[in-house]
Subunit: 510 residues, 4 copies
């Protein structure tokens, strides 16, 4: 590796998209070739072309990433610090409105935060505009994102009173691992945007609170960094996999994952065949591009805007299909769960293909607007294939007696209250996942995530007592009144409008 | 009892949570041990550590409470008034925003108040912030609280015209007591927060208007004080009981209640197994704690905030269960009603266990958000166990002919209009209860509560005439069009999503 | 009659509620005895005690009313105009905010008004606060008032295209009288509040536009004055009757009505058994009372407020019942229609009792909040007693062939568009009525009412063409999609929640 | 043609509606006879009486129109430019608020526009008030206009995952013409109001993006001008026909249309029997008229206001009916589609009458408020006449095998997202149309329309992948969950409220 001392004036001359150097932690990199493939889009890199990008880099990335991902010859040398001028050291004028965090004073103290909405508001006011846009945005008109949350509010409990509920236990197990209550941290990308500890903090909090984190394929820190922290080396994690268009890359990634014995389950994302248009995210990027005086060509001028989300997903294989289950099984012995299922039919297919479970999820409403909330899909299973739950639920009599294979159903999207989690569990979910709330809580580091989990657990326990159950085993649909949303449950295999002209269509081949 | 004269400087030195004296009405108390058990939370007490708390105390509590509840050795002596300095006499600077009542000028004159909403607005603007938060708050997202009221607006009447309705009578009887119309004042805690007369005023108003008050277990005045007022000694009351974790305390309380012959019914609350998170209430407390310079340790720094509601419920036994009915019956010969029933199944159980009635209630939406309004539960009874009403309603032919035992169904939650009461009565309720509206009206003392009752009675009578009935006996479901909310009525015993995996669950054991 | 000249100083001395003189048009009246019975409440009169009330009187009343209603000895003499001082001539300082009309400049020109909402806005901004309150107010929470209008917006048409619709005719007949389209001006009280011509203007407009006015029992002008105007003496009117507690008064009134040959139908109001609490109306009165320095006693201080509406209805007989139909028939040979029917059962009773029709109406939502809109009742007839329409509609084959008696169904409440009228006609209504819109349009006198009728007719014709019908005869339910509100239609005689305990109730006796 | 030089003073003297000259492009026209027939209403012309109207004319009209439509003797001569004074050259003072476009600075750059709502906002802020009113307005209370869009948001997808969706094709064919995806530009009048290129720009964009434009009968440019542009002479177009009251005019128009071989289909509008009251449009006109000091007579003073829409439709024949299909077929050999069908019955009639297809449309909610969205009509076909789709859909097996005639169903109204288009296609539509969005995009010329189409296509493709289909052939109702709006689907031939009294009505004769 070159250790040549390079002056700031030389670095400054490589300030075009066709010849682009940046400095990170004192090292000078030629990222001309890499920039177009940058998961966060090339624009943010070109902004620092010929400049020192250390601060911006560290806001998002783990220190190891640039070294592991760039070829050795991209390292041109080290910054000659004797040549640093005042101008060089001055931050970009237009950084402030976009990337400067709001003053700490605006962030309310953690002990004034008493629900997930408080965490969201705190993040909105203290994160950078781009982080907020990336985290909070969803596809198109946000109909699914909003529906994810609002459907829960329209489902009522049917509480029973006069039961001994002093001693209750919300504890359960997920894919064989004991947890304090049925909550999972869903995979959500780039937690470092909101706090330097990012996913490391989430990991430590899940252990201290005895729940499980499913690590994002696009985490700011590598899965290895996350699960190898001293304090969690003996604690289980799941890993979310985006199958790469280049399958050998996924195979290599899985081998690396397997080297960590505390990664104990693989969640393969299936609902990212195409990245949705997350308009808030796209709009912030569009502004940024305009402010960039270096963008002489408009080859990178993407008419769609420039959201992180869309740009980050380019490596995901849209051809992943049921036949690939065989390949996946050949690559891992770990429990295998499909994440992003949005129809009862696909749940049944997942069971038939030998999967260990599914996450009913619409990717937080980020990929397809008006896709159905997981809660509706869960109800559809009851209406159309009830045996998937009655026979294959890990707690069912059939499974306990060895007559049926366990199949775990997770649900995420819109979960904001302990009552939401309890409703899902009553309807047969093994656990509920939270994504954005965990990111927002990460703004307060490990302590914030712990507080989030405690709050949800407290709400969950309060609701358990108030509906009259003392353990997860007692939860059942009898406690649920879904009358207000039953209209959305497609009850029969044959849709009322099913027609025959499409009989040669894909669905009949499955 | 010590009558030692104690100087203000000595008192001021006991200003820590680990050594905490306060002055009330010239008496000096060591409340170090008691403070953590204070129903209103320790924070409010610590705020006055080493100071005179007379004013704050009197705003909420009856004079007798501190003497009856603290051990004798907690009384350290009497304030040496010769040592009172100007600084001692100055109110805490930070009291104003929290506890000072708004100027009287902001409270509209009573004769400008023409509905319950006016009373609520008046309370919002004239009560202290903490009182408003405690009274008005409900659990989590207020979905149940709002639904309680809004469901009534979606139920239409089916009025009949051309009937002789000049002379009508809204009079009826409740558990054998004649009342002017089917309204009950539901138990609601700490009415003194809004007016010095508190529950005393409510009691006097119920007599003058011939309705019945169900006295709260947590009233500012003791039940004895309330029912022993000269003017009401011959007038009936009901008493709400929270069964204590220490049963002997409840037994003692019931003995005391029985010493008052005009307490003629016991309403045992069943929907407080766990106190809900009443966020508005919690938030005000959180602020208060911050302003308290004396809180050096954070042992009392409760992450959940510090609402009155949650802290006040710590003594309630979450293990109260159907088997306890036998014990309850052994402790009282009075009619026994279960309050807080939220499912038709539990209504049936109450009937089978020999209770005299139930209050369909969700505690004003304060304990479990998305629990069902009593109106829905009443409709569910019709749909699933109609015989509970057709056979056991006190006005039914079967009861009048001695073929069936009377069973009285009350409903509270969201009742804001005389029309709401009439709808409940038409659907078979014996009476409707109002809680918060009575508290808000108490802001105007006895006259305010009387005005509230008159208004509701006037609305009730107007509606009777306009639907074409002249007596409570004529009210029936024929006058109700509930089409807009029928979707929420669970019609069959078997829930559409009922599954068998939970067949070992609690509900099958009942 | 005394013609004594009375000085202003003498008049001023009679300025108490127990001794109250006022001047109207130069005549001095002692209204001490009459004031408490004033339909508009005594407060407004006491305000002018000892003063000249000419202007306030003329804003509301026809000149003949005071002479016809007060006994002769109440006339004390005539104002001695030589004694009028500047102070006497000065209007009351506090009149302005309540009763002064807004400046004419605020009233938009008539040709800028293109729908009924425009008329309503113009009235809101140009009428006095009290007039606006009286006209616009409705009972309690305005749920029925709002539902009256909003239900129409949720009913869709099922239009047919490709039909010859150049020449169409919206003409029809109502109770045997030809009208230009199926619109009736519903009775609405005191049109003079908004324009000096009041009901006189409405009458002239109905003739020029060939529709029919149903004159209010409480019109500002007497029915005689209205129907005897030169221009309309040959044009038909209907008369609304409130049956008086003193039946002989109603009999006398009917005799007077019969003296006018162009009054050709009697509409007996049945939905005013009890006046609802019209809160906006009550509140304005309450203010007025406060401003009255003469009200030394509070005997007239009505806790309910003091709306015109409630006070005006005190003479109405709440004992009017089906047995009275015989009496009514003995008093008039004119077609007899019951106004204010709110259930299909009562429509059937009206048919069985030989009435000529009904107006499905809830009194503009003014008497019973959450009473059903007429549109729902019309749908209920189809669902439960369809023969009332299929056999007895004046246009039905059975009636035309003499096999059945004609029975006319009118609907009012919330009608704001020609499309609303067409929907009602398609569902079998003979005509739709408008009340408030006509009052608001009267603000522009005869020309305003004509413009209102033209607008609605134009909207009606446009909609006829666009659904594909050329005459009223072709209108049918086939053009209506009521799917969004079908949930509110009670389909069976037996209500889903019907119970037997109330079997001794009134409804079974009918 | 007269080429007489005419002075400005002579021109100025012809400034009355009874003697009205205007100057356009240096030519002096006597438009006294023509003005009353002006599609945009006479008011706008009278405003320029005796003045130079060039700028106002060119904002809306193609240069050829005045020459082709006025008789030769209307040309009085040419403007003597030597007589032009400063006053003559000054624009009308009152033009600015109405017709001046907002400053270009307010129009956001095209690349910041990422959805159709952005285009709408841009148009709202940059078009003249009158253009915005004409484009955006709809009938009465906008219920249908809003419902058109909002119904789409309540229909959910039922996505399938784990399918190979890397390579997908949204391509399809419409009436035999290949298109890049199932989008059509619906006919919408007067695109030049927002951009000088108007429909010319739309035409060029449709070719470059491979979709099809249906040219409006009332386009600013003649169809000939549009389809004869060099770049599109080889590209197919459809033409919308309003059948004229004078049929020979329609015949002549069709002959002209046939002279262009690239006009390949005729869409006959059927839902304009009567122009609706587009209130926003009417209101702006009303203002304009007021500002016109020349309007001495009020013959043109229309009480309804003066919207372009209503005035432009006066030539349309409201007597067009099914019998005219024979005449239409005799006039053209091109595929014939009926546009504006709003009931399944009329779809069936169209099929029976040999039409090639229908556009389910309510004219953008502009003619009949509360008419049903096309989406509902499409669902009604499935519910009542499913064979129209299962047997006659151009992609059905029956059509492909020659057993049935192809029949194409288009839908427009409220389409704002690629997901909307996909929902319609899944339910059997051949293509979806967009009207207003195309007009708004035209504000940016050809590039704007191209951007619009690209955006919708991108949204469409993303949604295809995310529901799991790779071609239009695979789309089916199985992917649709319409539970929330099924209540609006009239399922049976017999309406629940169908009655017999109207049995002699029109519908039975069909």
């Amino acid at each position: 590796m070159s250790q040549r001392q390079i002056s700031t004036s030389e670095i400054s001359s490589h300030n075009k998209d066709t010849d682009c150097w940046i400095v990170v932690d004192g090292q000078v990199w030629d990222i001309t070739k890499f920039a177009p493939e940058h998961p966060g889009g090339p624009g943010i890199i070109y902004k620092y072309a010929g400049r020192d990008a250390t601060q911006a880099y560290n806001e998002i990335h783990s220190p190891s990433i640039i070294k592991n991902n760039l070829p050795k010859d991209a390292l041109k040398g080290t910054l000659d610090t004797t040549t640093v001028t005042k101008e060089w050291a001055t931050p970009l004028a237009n950084e402030t409105p976009q990337s400067a965090p709001a003053s700490a004073a605006e962030k309310p103290p953690l002990d004034s935060i008493i629900n997930t909405h408080d965490f969201e508001l705190a993040a909105q006011h203290s994160a950078t505009a781009k982080t907020w846009a990336f985290y909070s945005s969803a596809c198109n008109d946000l109909i699914t994102k909003d529906l994810n949350a609002s459907l829960f509010t329209r489902v009522l409990f049917r509480p029973r009173v006069m039961r001994k509920v002093d001693k209750i236990s919300p504890a359960t197990s997920i894919l064989g691992h004991d947890v304090s209550f049925p909550l999972m941290i869903s995979p959500a990308a780039m937690a470092r945007l909101i706090h330097p500890d990012g996913e490391l903090a989430i990991a430590r909090a899940t252990k201290s609170q005895s729940i499980i984190q499913c690590i994002s394929n696009n985490a700011s820190y590598s899965a290895s960094e996350i699960v190898s922290q001293d304090v969690v080396t003996d604690y289980p994690f799941f890993f979310q996999l985006y199958v790469d268009r280049q399958r050998h890359k996924s195979e290599a990634l899985l081998r690396k994952i397997h080297s960590h014995k505390n990664i104990t389950g693989i969640f393969v994302t299936t609902d990212a065949a195409a990245a949705g248009k997350r308009e808030a995210d796209e709009r912030v990027k569009a502004d940024e591009t305009i402010q960039n005086p270096m963008m002489t060509s408009n080859a990178t001028n993407d008419k769609k805007g420039g959201g992180y989300g869309r740009l980050m997903g380019s490596f995901i294989d849209p051809n992943l299909n049921w036949a690939d289950i065989t390949w996946l099984r050949s690559q891992t012995k770990l429990p295998l769960v499909l994440k992003g299922i949005m129809s009862a039919d696909d749940v049944r297919l997942a069971l038939e293909h030998g999967l260990d479970g599914v996450v009913l999820s619409n990717h937080g409403g980020r990929n397809l607007d008006t896709s159905p909330p997981g809660l509706l899909v869960l109800m559809e299973i009851h209406a159309r294939f009830p045996e998937i739950i009655t026979q294959h639920h890990p707690r069912s009599a059939a499974v306990r007696q060895g007559r049926a294979r366990p199949f775990s159903i997770f649900v995420d999207g819109g979960v904001r209250r302990g009552t939401d989690i309890l409703k899902l569990v009553c309807l047969g979910a093994v656990a509920a996942g939270v994504g954005r709330p965990a990111l927002f809580a990460t703004g307060y580091g490990q302590e914030g995530v712990e507080h989030l989990i405690e709050m949800l657990k407290d709400e969950f326990e309060t609701a358990m007592r108030n509906i009259g159950v003392t353990s997860i085993d007692e939860c059942s649909p009898d406690y649920i009144n879904s009358g207000a949303i039953d209209k959305w449950v497609v009850k029969r295999r044959e849709h009322p409008y099913a027609v025959s002209w499409a009989s040669s269509g894909r669905q009949s081949k499955l």
